[in-house]
């Protein structure tokens, strides 16, 4: 892969299943080392896009390059350089965790002299080294997902694709999966491309593309997307509300009001503002609450519906596509 080139580069990518146009000419680029997220309801075309980027589906139109290789003309080049974690598990439950990884290492031609060390490393990274000898059947959902992440990393890919990596997991496990993802991005200097329909998870991405009905409707950092929608709202309870309102006006040039028993005002990036507020307000603060415009608001402003409504209406479309995409 040419150094400095984008990790993923997509131009006019289209996929049609019969009459259904699942992906309608999308365009974007992912920088090396970035955590890039695709956010959208089920049926928006996220998985279809990932499948095309992973060489599992042939695009109907347009071009895409992953790690410098064309996804149609240089499929092997792409396959050598990507790791994949699918939405549905793709492990062999009859094999142990280690055997699953060994299978992968052989299939990808990982040099034998490195296989043992590398397996140990990725298993330790996801905290499964102690369970390596157990059959995957006996693993919990979160452990399976972690094992898949470890497997996706085994051959040191340049780009790791995660298709809904935390779907169906409990919140605690989701949090720990995210912990691993961020840690490995750091340790492995890897580009991470993921899809999600959880708003709170999209926050972890450096940039997100919001996808709806086969198109990218917005692409930016989560901060910028939310800033585009509106400011954060801060509510504080103080010992002296009058003094606090005056101080907020003097020191920060912001207009505050008392609403529902709390001093309330709006500011562009609330969390970053709170330390300054404590340091400079001069009035004791008893409690603070920052309400941000959520990605839900962002999604709403770009698509005109909430992500849950969009999912409901996309259900039929998705069923058609899943039948067509099944192989």
């Amino acid at each position: 892969m040419p150094d400095g080139g984008p990790a993923v580069e997509v131009d006019g990518l289209t996929k049609r299943f019969g009459d259904v146009e699942a992906v309608r000419g999308i365009e974007f680029a992912v920088r090396p080392g970035e955590i890039f997220g695709f956010l959208g309801p089920n049926g928006a075309g996220k998985s279809t896009t990932i499948n095309m980027l992973c060489t599992l589906l042939r695009p109907t139109g347009g071009r895409a390059r992953v790690a410098g290789h064309d996804v149609v003309a240089e499929r092997d080049g792409v396959r050598r350089n990507i790791g994949l974690v699918f939405q549905d598990p793709t492990l062999d439950g009859y094999l142990s965790g280690e055997q699953n990884l060994r299978f992968h290492a052989e299939l990808y031609g990982v040099p034998r002299s490195l296989t043992g060390d590398r397996i140990r490393q990725v298993l330790e990274m996801v905290g499964l080294w102690d369970r390596r000898g157990d059959r995957v059947q006996t693993y919990s959902g979160g452990m399976k997902r972690r094992l898949e992440i470890a497997r996706g990393l085994l051959h040191s890919p340049r780009v790791l694709f995660l298709d809904e990596p935390t779907v169906g997991l409990d919140p605690q496990t989701r949090a720990s999966i995210w912990e691993y993802i961020r840690r490995l991005q750091h340790a492995e200097e890897i580009t991470i491309f993921m899809t999600t329909h959880y708003m709170d998870e999209a926050e972890f991405c450096e940039r997100i593309a919001i996808m709806d009905s086969g198109r990218i409707v917005a692409l930016d950092t989560p901060e910028a997307l939310k800033a585009g929608v509106g400011e954060d709202r801060i509510r504080i309870q103080t010992a002296d509300d009058e003094a606090a309102i005056a101080a907020i006006g003097d020191r920060f040039g912001l207009e505050a009001v008392v609403s529902e028993g709390a001093v309330t005002f709006s500011v562009a990036s609330g969390e970053a503002f709170v330390p300054r507020l404590f340091a400079e307000l001069g009035v004791p603060i008893r409690s603070v609450n920052v309400a941000r415009p959520s990605l839900d608001d962002v999604f709403m402003s770009f698509t005109g519906s909430t992500i849950r409504d969009a999912e409901a209406s996309a259900g039929d479309r998705m069923r058609v596509m899943m039948r067509a995409a099944r192989r």
């Binding site: 050598r80 590398r118 990274m125």
Partner: protein, 299 residues
């Protein structure tokens, strides 16, 4: 990067990351892939003891229950030139049948892999489709032969001598037969996406193949229509060499030999064993070729 500030304290992995470079695809790579796909079949067979045991039940039923029950019928008929125990006669047929069932099951594992997603793990790997299919076919054939080996150990029950040469010969023949059947199964599995329809179809294909193969009755002196059907059945050419191997190790009169081991004839010409083996093996290679093409086309 915006989120580095939130990144968990880097562990020791950050300092000593083992970097791997995936090599360009080549023959060596593909051979490694064949080997590991095959190896997986063996591991799975070994771990699935229940399957091994349940694979034994059918042949034992055929040999001990049907064989014993029906031999009463035969004995009452009597024979001038002595008798051949029915169990001995059907033993090679039972071996062929059990190998056939196991081979089909092994081929069905591709459908299973597809349903459980594991096929995707193989299909996105930088190896050729043929490596995966060849690995599956040889692996399936090996597993079926192993199952066959367990049946061969029952030879004593059927009055077949434990001659090491005979046992080896039988194992070799079983492998070739199993290879052809796995090829057939994998070819079907390339198109069929649900386990139910796969096994339904296989049952449909296997029963007639079994009944028309000469596994359970001698092929000589049949009515013309049945003769023609048996000659078109590939399994016939897998069963006959097995039977021939068994009978050449028995001490029976030429008259009985002609009745029970007449060989396969094409319009009066006895097809030699080597040609039968070539037919079966060639079919295996051909079916595997079709399977490879189908997996490539689905790409």
């Amino acid at each position: 990067m915006a989120t580095t500030a939130e990144t968990a304290p880097s562990d020791k992995a950050a300092t000593g990351v083992v970097r791997v470079r995936v090599p360009e695809r080549g023959l060596r790579q593909d051979l490694r892939a064949v080997k590991i796909v095959l190896h997986r079949e063996l591991i799975r067979f070994w771990r699935d003891k229940l399957r091994m045991v349940s694979g034994l039940i059918q042949p034992v039923l055929w040999l001990l229950v049907m064989g014993t029950g029906l031999s009463n019928l035969m004995a009452s008929g009597g024979g001038v030139a002595g008798t051949v125990d029915l169990k001995t006669f059907i033993f090679p047929g039972v071996c062929a049948m059990s190998v056939m069932f196991t081979a089909m099951f092994s081929a069905g594992s591709i459908v299973w892999d597809r349903e459980f997603g594991f096929l995707r793990e193989m299909l996105v790997a930088p190896v050729s489709r043929s490596a995966i299919v060849v690995g599956k076919c040889i692996g399936g054939a090996l597993v079926a032969t192993l199952q066959g080996a367990v049946i061969v150990l029952l030879a004593g029950l059927a009055g077949v001598p434990y001659d090491p040469l005979l046992l080896l010969e039988m194992l070799g023949l079983m492998f070739i037969g199993a290879f052809a059947l796995t090829g057939f199964g994998v070819m079907m599995a390339a198109r069929i996406t649900s386990m139910q329809s796969f096994f339904g179809l296989m049952q449909m294909a296997m029963m007639p193949m079994m009944f028309l193969s000469g596994a359970l009755y001698p092929l000589g002196g049949l009515p013309a229509w049945l003769t023609v059907l048996t000659r078109f059945n590939p399994l016939t050419y897998a069963v006959d060499p097995l039977r021939h191997a068994v009978f050449s190790h028995l001490d029976v009169s030429p008259q009985l030999m002609a009745t029970f081991d007449p060989g396969v004839t094409w319009g009066g010409w006895v097809v030699p064993v080597w040609l039968e083996v070539v037919i079966v093996f060639g079919m295996g290679v051909g079916l595997m070729g079709v399977a490879i093409l189908e997996f490539r086309r689905a790409d």
